[in-house]
Amino acid sequence: MEQNPRPRTVLETLGEEIIRIVTPVSICMLSVVILVSILNGDPSSGGDLPVTTMATIAYSESSSDSTWDKLKGALLNSLVFVAVVTVVTFLLVLLFYLRCTKFLKYYMGFSAFLVLGFMGGEIALLLIQDFSFPVDCITFAILLFNFTVVGVLAVFMSKMAIFVTQAYLVVIGMLVAYWFTLLPEWTTWVLLVAMALYDLAAVLLPGGPLRLLVELAMSRDEDIPALVYEARPVINDSGPSGGVVRRRVWREGGDTDDNQGLSANTRSGLASDSTPGTHLSVGIGEHERNLADAEEGRVPGGDSELTTPLIQHINVRMNSSENAVPSENLALEGIGLGSSGAIKLGLGDFIFYSVLVGRAAMYDFMTVYACYLAIIAGLGVTLMLLAFYRKALPALPVSIMLGSQDMMNCCQLYDVLLLFWCFLSFSSRHVRQSNQHDYRVGISRWEAYNRVC
């Protein structure tokens, strides 16, 4: 047992937190790629979706239309989709304002049930049919029932094994992303770009619904009922031991806005309309200081600008004309920080990154690899921007832009970014050593506070 454990520096904890976010995103993307490559490999497939969903209500693409027609139709579809998502997001804000959180939570559980039960069941059936797996209906029913119910509980209950909750959120993201890859090709691409733009607007504009939602939640110090993936927080050795670590702390002000916990559980359900707005708010490595501040009850004033976590709002509603399984799911994504500095990433991010990569999987695997690197680079860039600006930023635009450009074979851009990213990670090792001194100063100051209290 070491007597003098080496302190964990800012960059070490930051690196670990980034890894804890990048890993589930990668797992989700990988599973969608596998699903897509097993179940449908044709790039132009999905044009004959048997169900009229919200995303194709304006125009159903068929392969015989001209390029211009397809583009117009895709634009129309995306506009309708974004409009519906905006409306539902404002509805969510209204409901949250009227304190109908119980209703929202039940709705979340219901949409998780639909996604896991119906979507999961159908995809499992497709896989069984593909491989002619000799499983009988009783076993299948029991397994599906178990899987669904435990998933609903994981989403519903706040105190469940973290690993189980995280796994189920990734599975939900994967299922919805696979469903989105079934949309017609042009609609998918234009929809991705439209959602990225909506994300920008909803998060950064003062009247944006997501910004309103987060400000409401922060002023009331409540959790937003939305589906958000929360990475396991990095527990520092030097932090206060004993006592249960609080998962959420709201902070105002721009200086110590690091510990913003947006524990939003969003329901992401099947829907053609989804408005992702992702915010990233990362407080790098100042969680120790913030914990001290929180214990002292000190709220740093000064800058009254609220650092709002990235939230992506996804409203998914499937209106099928043939079978009435409507599911309205509000998917709220956001990247924020818990009270111990954990990064939270909204489920819409998972979904749209996976949709991009899943679409790429319909072409060939080099495209998949390139898009994956572009998305991870975009995520890293967004995290860095978040660290610099310390306010909510939309996480979709950068990744979608890079990924789409990759698709159009602008390989030089992502190569440059990748080099930049590698350079940063190598240089961070040198920065780490020079930060030792600052770290020690911070710790001794915290201990001074502790003694005073």
């Binding site: 029991i142 094994a161 927080p233 006592g243 249960v244």
Partner: protein
């Protein structure tokens, strides 16, 4: 020693002196480990439930598992794994361990029954069941009722 050297985390020859604060904390943690005490009842550690809440949680999951939900029992055992691992823990309620052992037994029993049935069905095939096999197997059931037509 004073606190200043206590915060000195660079290993140096001068730090060979045993510092009182560091030593006592080391002793307590290692002694706890030797006694096999589970400091935290859940596998999440400080992020999970406290000892008081975990009894209620374990009881609820145990009872819900009887609704043909053995996966809940499995999750229960996974979540409270430290309590299962350290049987002579003095911190946790004695009932907690009873619920966990019950969940573990229930899950293993159910898994044994279900897997034996599934394996018999898969391996036996039509030789064993006759044409009932074709009616029970999932892909035929899905085709008969058109279950995959929703996507």
């Amino acid at each position: 020693m004073d606190n200043e050297s206590g915060t000195d985390r660079y290993p140096s020859p001068a730090a060979a002196r045993v510092l009182p604060t560091a030593a006592t904390s080391d002793e307590t943690s290692s002694s706890r480990r030797r006694l096999g005490r589970a400091e935290w009842p859940t596998v999440d550690g400080p992020l999970g439930l406290s000892h008081d809440d975990s009894l209620e949680h374990a009881r609820r999951f145990f009872k819900l598992g009887f609704l043909c939900l053995p996966f809940l029992w499995a999750v229960n055992c996974f979540y409270f794994w430290p309590v299962l691992r350290h049987p002579n823990s003095h911190d946790s309620h004695p009932d907690l361990r009873r619920y966990l052992v019950g969940s573990a037994i229930g899950f293993l029993l159910f898994a044994a029954i279900l897997s034996s049935w599934a394996l018999t069905f898969a391996i036996g095939g039509e030789h064993l069941f006759g044409h009932v096999w074709n009616e029970l197997v999932m892909y035929n059931v899905a085709e008969k009722y058109g279950l995959t037509g929703w996507i």
